[in-house]
């Protein structure tokens, strides 16, 4: 147990799996600790989606036209609203310091957190979208396409959002600054996402939009954890 015996417990390359497991498991456990958490996310989404027809004139044709857009904007806002919490509490209580000092590779730890965020905020939205879409009078294909586009798109929202959340850590103007930084990046996703369903409704193929979304997801999957980890380190300095 002396001197050289007390060496590294993890060799840095191999730790990716363990790192992922640690952060996903921990964040899911935290999210589920207050049993209402998941329900609240869903309720928020439902309420926002419900608000729109309330605020504009509820004509059936118009509703179906607005449908995909509203589902997407609501998803985007739900993501935006939950993002400030992604790192804030870990930052305030010092966990983020320990994450930066862990022998596990930091992008993997960060990616785990993002994954947990998506599982608790994005996935429920995707699952709920078909139901809400019916309320808007969307038909079979459009419904299916908008759900698929949300399934591909919402992870991008979480991934990009994480960068913004990390950049605005400990910075004044938090929530709104985050929105300002991230919304411009969200807009293309919104356009492709809502556009895919519009294309279908217009009798065209959604595949161009969806494959652009898919490409976006790939890029975000590779780039975002690295950028986020770098931003977190910057925030800790």
């Amino acid at each position: 147990m002396a001197g050289a015996g007390m060496s590294a417990d993890v060799d840095s390359g191999a730790g990716v799996g363990a790192a992922l497991r640690w952060s996903v498991e921990r964040d899911l456990r935290l999210a589920l600790r207050s049993r209402s958490e998941l329900g609240v996310q869903l309720m928020f989404y439902v309420i926002v989606v419900t608000l729109f027809p309330l605020a504009s004139t509820p004509e059936r044709m118009l509703l179906a036209t607005m449908g995909p857009g509203v589902l997407w904007v609501a998803a985007l806002l739900a993501s935006l609203l939950s993002l400030p919490r992604l790192f804030a509490s870990d930052f305030a209580d010092g966990t983020l310091e320990q994450i930066a000092l862990s022998p596990f590779p930091m992008p993997a730890l960060v990616f785990g957190k993002i994954l947990a965020h998506w599982l608790t905020t994005g996935l429920p939205i995707v699952l709920l979208a078909p139901l809400l879409g019916i309320q808007y009078g969307l038909d079979g294909t459009a419904l299916w396409i908008v759900t698929l586009s949300l399934l591909i798109g919402t992870p991008i929202l979480s991934l990009l959002g994480a960068i913004g959340a990390a950049l605005t850590l400990g910075v004044r103007g938090g929530g709104s600054l985050l929105a300002l930084l991230i919304l411009p990046l969200y807009v293309p996703i919104l356009i492709f996402g809502a556009g895919s369903a519009d294309a279908v409704r217009a009798g065209l193929s959604a595949s161009a939009n969806l494959s652009l979304l898919g490409a976006g997801l790939l890029i975000a999957l590779v780039g975002a954890p690295l950028a986020t980890a770098a931003s977190v380190r910057i925030a800790l300095d």
């Binding site: 002396a2 417990d9 935290l30 022998p103």
Partner: protein, 204 residues
């Protein structure tokens, strides 16, 4: 084990220290003291790789290490002002989560043993939110006890601890030194340790 060469730190317009150099051998503890605001915390964060130094180098086991290098991260443990506790988790969950983050998977009985070592038996299943200030710090002590790392960096470890807590901290440090580890700690209080193991660095 740790050597520091020509280290300098500037925060804003203020130069905290410049051309700082020292060595910490295995089995020794470096106590960093000095008035408030002289850079003790900053020094420890630089050593841990959290903050960038303005100039200078840190050698670990004779090799220069970049801030946040995997090698350093695998061999040192940093306990700062912030306890890294989740209010929603129980004391035990917090401890096991923190230790696992360092790559060690403790068994349930290990966790229980070390929690009773720091006198948190009764608080094991309480959420950290309701723990007293000292009880929160004790979870940090339990973590130190479970992680076998050659280098400890402790920022004011005595904060909020009662007399038995202080004694416990002394024991842990003594055990670490006896096992050939090294400790760098900042403190304003006097720790009860054999003076031959201590070296002093006074910032001013």
């Amino acid at each position: 084990m740790l050597e520091v060469l020509e280290l300098a730190a500037r925060r804003g317009d203020a130069v905290l220290f410049r051309r700082l150099g020292f060595r910490v051998e295995a089995g020794k503890m470096l106590v960093v003291t000095g008035p408030n605001g002289t850079g003790k915390t900053t020094l420890l964060r630089i050593l841990a790789g959290l903050t960038l130094a303005t100039a200078g180098r840190v050698l670990f086991r004779g090799e220069a290490v970049a801030p946040g290098s995997p090698k350093l991260r695998a061999e040192c443990v940093f306990v700062g002002h912030l306890p890294a506790l989740k209010d929603e988790f129980t004391a035990e969950e917090n401890l096991s989560s923190l230790v696992e983050l360092s790559g060690v998977r403790p068994t349930a009985s290990q966790l229980r043993a070390v929690l009773s070592e720091v006198a948190l038996d009764a608080q094991r299943a309480l959420p950290a939110r309701v723990l007293s200030q000292g009880q929160r710090r004790r979870i940090g002590l339990a973590r130190l006890s479970l992680l076998r790392r050659p280098l400890w960096l402790l920022d004011e470890p005595a904060t909020a601890l009662d007399t038995t807590g202080l004694a416990l901290l002394g024991q842990l440090i003594a055990r670490q030194l006896a096992a050939g580890g090294a400790v760098v700690a900042s403190t304003h209080q006097t720790l009860d340790l054999p003076p031959e193991h201590l070296e002093w660095l006074v910032l001013a």
